[in-house]
Symmetry: C2
Subunit: 367 residues, 2 copies
Amino acid sequence: MPQTLADLETPIPVVDLDRLARNLDRAAGYATAHGLSLRPHVKTHKSPVIARQQLDRGAVGLTCATTHEAEVMSEVCDDILVAYPPVGAPRARRIARLPTHARVTVALDSTAALQAIAAAAKDERREIGVYVELDLGMRRVGLSNLDAAIALAREAIGRPHLRFDGIAFYPGHVREPVARQAKSLATLDAALSAAVEAFTRAGLRPTTVSGGSTPTLWRTHELSAVTEFRPGTYVYNDRTTASIEACAWDDCAFTVLATVVSTAVPGQAVIDAGTKALGREPMRGAEGEGFGALLDRPDVVVARMSEEHGVLDLSATSWRPEVGQQVRVVPNHVCVVVHLNDVIIGARGDVVATTWPVTARGRAFDL
Amino acid sequence: MPQTLADLETPIPVVDLDRLARNLDRAAGYATAHGLSLRPHVKTHKSPVIARQQLDRGAVGLTCATTHEAEVMSEVCDDILVAYPPVGAPRARRIARLPTHARVTVALDSTAALQAIAAAAKDERREIGVYVELDLGMRRVGLSNLDAAIALAREAIGRPHLRFDGIAFYPGHVREPVARQAKSLATLDAALSAAVEAFTRAGLRPTTVSGGSTPTLWRTHELSAVTEFRPGTYVYNDRTTASIEACAWDDCAFTVLATVVSTAVPGQAVIDAGTKALGREPMRGAEGEGFGALLDRPDVVVARMSEEHGVLDLSATSWRPEVGQQVRVVPNHVCVVVHLNDVIIGARGDVVATTWPVTARGRAFDL
């Protein structure tokens, strides 16, 4: 194994192990302090190596989006939430066939999804829990009509292989800087409380109320009804997370190590990290140009990209990197970057300490 | 193996085999008709299965960007161009260690890159060819100063393990619809002719002049000095290629098969293809909103995305898909979508005919 980052072929993702541990500790500490159940979303790291560290620090279970994530995580965890509509017989079947040691729950918002998972659960003779998904402002999935949501919960209760476990929502529309989220969270809290009240009046008091994101992580306790939260990005953080102040710049644990491959065109330097290494995620809910920024020079951004080229805009800096020089790029959105890679380097400073596979990357279709 | 697309778990890429064959035939026919050498860029398909079909139709060799692409393609091809600066000892070493049956050429624009590949070639005791990369308007990599370019060619000639094979450029800045490229191509032709003339005056007449892209594919012959061209996207095509009329909509061979997973939020339908299945590439050099369009309903686009969710905007159509219904999405930029996947489905109509692995996806680092 190479001993230092300078020995590595690039582009390659590098995680600062000390920052990772600090990020994991801080979220676990927050959950404990507020009596909340932390059920991290694995979409960010897609690795049982990191999942185990989350579980060791008290996570009650894991959240997955894809069937492959659920399969991989069931090797290290016995409580899996698939926070994704179990639509389509192949998907529902794969969920129902997860190892039987695992308690499995799905989130859904339609009768069609409920029928699909009920049929698969019946075929596999196992019980599967259901969260009814609510739309509390994200406008992506979820029911906003509470009567319809309650009716769906009743449908779940009426199926012998399903459990009604509670309600779920995703506050992904709350993107203000943490210090300015009070109004959005108050609106959300009111909507959530009304939902819980309606379910309770209908005799369906939800035992679990599942929500949360990394941007709202540190104020989750202001949503009084929430019992469990599902942040993902907090393990690594990224440029967006830092810009909305849900982490400090020094909490960004994940970078793409890249090399300057050309300075032939004046005013810029080209690195070997383009869209196939960084994704093409814009900054959201925050000021900021470009598709990533240098860890040591956050004012230098990846301004343009091709598939294997990233163009560093040097017009506002006197810094002039040389061809061959390495840089570390903090991506705008780390989750999509992890999904581009098969292996992660774990480093302390410039020293390579370990590597781990992104085991749950891809789909692992059985064709 | 599932028999029809309806049996497949989604999201999964599906290639129409008849369209693929037609696309391959047409480009090969164009090359023959104009006496041009076709050296396709494999970045689009990353598969030796497709590469072999290109070579069987007369391609003179293959173009690669990454070392992993070059390694994989050397299994089916004995003439590999790495059209990427061979910067950094690990990258240069990996190129120099390609199987010896392969003729290897690199494109570069700096003394640093030349030194790196010369050192690796010397260590491995093999000869490596050099194209001097010119910037003819793309402003990404390449020299625009012809004296500097000629000096770099002389440096290559002065190294015992390097060959000077010619000049290369990438006309990626020409993005107009094909019928309106005359002016851009005339400008490019003049610049290219001036470059060839300068090299020839210096006693370095380039035996190969390598350029070309999919948008300019069908007018490559208007660049009088070009001897070989390197289109990639033409094998599959995509929404951008169709919109600039370098292919017809019916030439789009590649789609992402997806499933409607939620219609709970009015005015939209949510499919299971988000940024982790479609990438987040904008339309470039062309009108068009969204991140992909439905093959059978090009007016319905993926308007918003999360990692595993794509939101179909239904505001301008009376079509109302149901939860569970499959759709096929033509992505904006197919090359980044292929890079997200491990396997491709080959279909005729709705029937699954074959599958093949995306063998050169990822980086295959030896850690």
